[in-house]
């Protein structure tokens, strides 16, 4: 019983020690809303650059910015809003100027087929509705607040989630009747939710900036990944996922 276990452990240690040896890597920190697109771009980049390993670290933009400021080894940073990128740039950690590569808008996610008949942002103020939004501390919550200010609609959410995926999950599982998320989130959820677009979303369009970081291990490789995102192939993937053009 003991011996196979020890052998397994040894095998695990060996493979982790050998794996990645001699390969060049690009570490990309990207906002979690970019999960699908950057996953596809990772594969394309690795196919175009044999021997290169792209490592994606996907999380909320503000958390990623904190990690970068604390010295996390990142080569490229793609943020879901300009303010977060500005924080990193102000700390002197960006190489050159950040470039906007996409935009994203809010939309309302509801159960498939919209059983509650929600048709506008103002409908969300209905107290009988179980509503979830992002917390105002994260970009999607800040954008929701902006729309509230612009429209004069006062939302009373039942929960303020720490990220947009959590909002989507609450709608997908049917716990919430409606959630305020990004257009791309509804697109990625496929049949599990229906999106209800609203005109006032224009009041809070999120810009997605990307930048090569000053402490990048391999600046030229990092630039090539950034160029892939900004180039035709990257833009096609982004448009397919529902992102707007910059």
């Amino acid at each position: 019983m003991r011996r196979p276990l020890a052998a397994c452990l040894a095998a695990v240690l060996l493979t982790t020690a050998c794996g990645g040896g001699g390969e060049r890597t690009v570490t990309v920190f990207a906002a979690s809303s970019l999960t699908g697109v950057f996953g596809a771009l990772e594969q394309r980049f690795e196919a175009d650059h044999p021997g290169v390993d792209v490592r994606l670290n996907l999380a909320g933009s503000t958390r990623l910015a904190q990690q970068i400021r604390e010295g996390a080894p990142a080569d490229v940073f793609a943020s879901a809003n300009a303010a977060t990128m500005a924080d990193v740039a102000d700390a002197g950690l960006v190489d050159g100027e950040p470039a906007t590569f996409a935009t994203n808008e809010l939309t309302i996610a509801v159960a498939p087929g919209n059983p509650r008949g929600i048709s506008s942002f103002a409908d969300l103020a209905d107290r009988g509705l179980t509503l979830v939004t992002c917390a105002p501390q994260v970009p999607c919550g800040a954008a929701t607040r902006e729309v509230e200010r612009a429209t004069g609609v006062d939302l009373r959410p039942d929960s303020e989630e720490p990220n947009v995926r959590a909002v989507l999950t609450k709608v997908e599982t049917g716990e919430a009747d409606a959630g305020v998320v990004y257009v791309t989130d509804v697109r990625s959820a496929g049949q599990r939710v229906t999106g209800v677009p609203f005109a006032e979303a224009r009041e809070a369009v999120n810009d997605y900036p990307i930048a090569v970081l000053r402490n990048a291990a391999d600046t030229s490789l990092a630039r090539r990944f950034r160029d892939l995102v900004l180039g035709a192939a990257g833009q096609r993937e982004l448009a397919e996922a529902g992102f707007g053009a910059p």
Partner: protein, 263 residues
């Protein structure tokens, strides 16, 4: 701390490392704290609300753990058979499950589309998610194993001699439980309750998944810390320190007495 003569010296090195692993990160937290802004950060409405909610919910879930976990531990410790062995493993599941998965599991049971949640909604018009009750349930779920494990260990350690003697003297099972088993269990019950309280206080993943996060209703201290960390790290650290202080107070004040047994 004088080295005890019975403790081999070789143990002091790993023991020191273990202590360093626990203490140094907390020291890092202390070093990063913005002490000048601390009073202002800690007396904000959001901080005080979160503290109150955390204390109330953790206390309630500790009570629930004691009321439900004690009988469970007695049943597990005093029954034999294969089924019991399986049950014991099942009781430990919340220790192994990532709390987020625990939260999802609770949603699938008590959520609007969960079988029990649906029943509650239709029959009684009660919805559990997004309420303070959901926080207590999530905390009880993750904290229960700590109580059951400490109690069961104590029960097995002490054996059932006293209970058998009491029974031969004519005591009924309920009297034996009340007059013999429970007094024997008090020390373990105390430390188990402290552990459960501490675990409930720090609960994050199951709570945010099952109960959501709303100030005054479901946003306990750990959730407030996570929320604040998005924009204001100083404020998150201040809240985290508050959590550390409460946890240390609970453990330091309650633990020694609990270990000696409250008689």
């Amino acid at each position: 701390m004088r080295p005890d003569r019975g403790v081999p010296r070789a143990l002091w090195i790993p023991a020191g490392l273990a202590l360093a692993l626990v203490v140094l990160p907390v020291a890092g937290l202390l070093a990063r704290a913005d002490w000048a802004r601390l009073p202002e950060l800690l007396t904000s409405a959001a901080a005080l609300n979160a503290l109150r909610l955390s204390l109330v919910t953790a206390a309630l879930s500790t009570v629930a753990c004691v009321l439900l976990g004690t009988p469970l531990a007695v049943v597990l410790a005093r029954s034999a058979g294969r089924g019991v062995r399986v049950l014991r493993a099942v009781v430990l599941l919340p220790l192994v499950l990532p709390p987020v998965v625990g939260g999802l599991a609770l949603l699938f049971l008590l959520g609007r589309n969960g079988f029990l949640g649906y029943l509650l909604d239709v029959v009684a018009g009660v919805r559990v998610p997004f309420t303070t009750a959901a926080v207590v349930i999530a905390q009880t779920f993750v904290a229960m194993p700590f109580l059951v494990v400490s109690l069961e260990g104590a029960l097995r350690g002490s054996g059932d001699r006293f209970e058998r003697v009491a029974a031969t003297l004519g005591a009924r099972p309920w009297t034996v439980f009340r007059r013999v088993t429970v007094p024997l269990l008090l020390p373990a019950l105390g430390s188990g309750a402290v552990l459960s309280f501490a675990r409930a206080l720090g609960e994050f993943g199951a709570t945010i998944t099952f109960a959501g996060s709303l100030q005054d209703v479901t946003r306990t201290l750990p959730l407030a810390v996570y929320n604040q960390a998005e924009t204001d790290v100083d404020s998150a650290i201040a809240l985290a320190l508050l959590l550390v202080v409460v946890a240390v107070l609970v453990i330091v004040v309650a633990r020694p007495r609990a270990l000696e047994g409250i008689r």
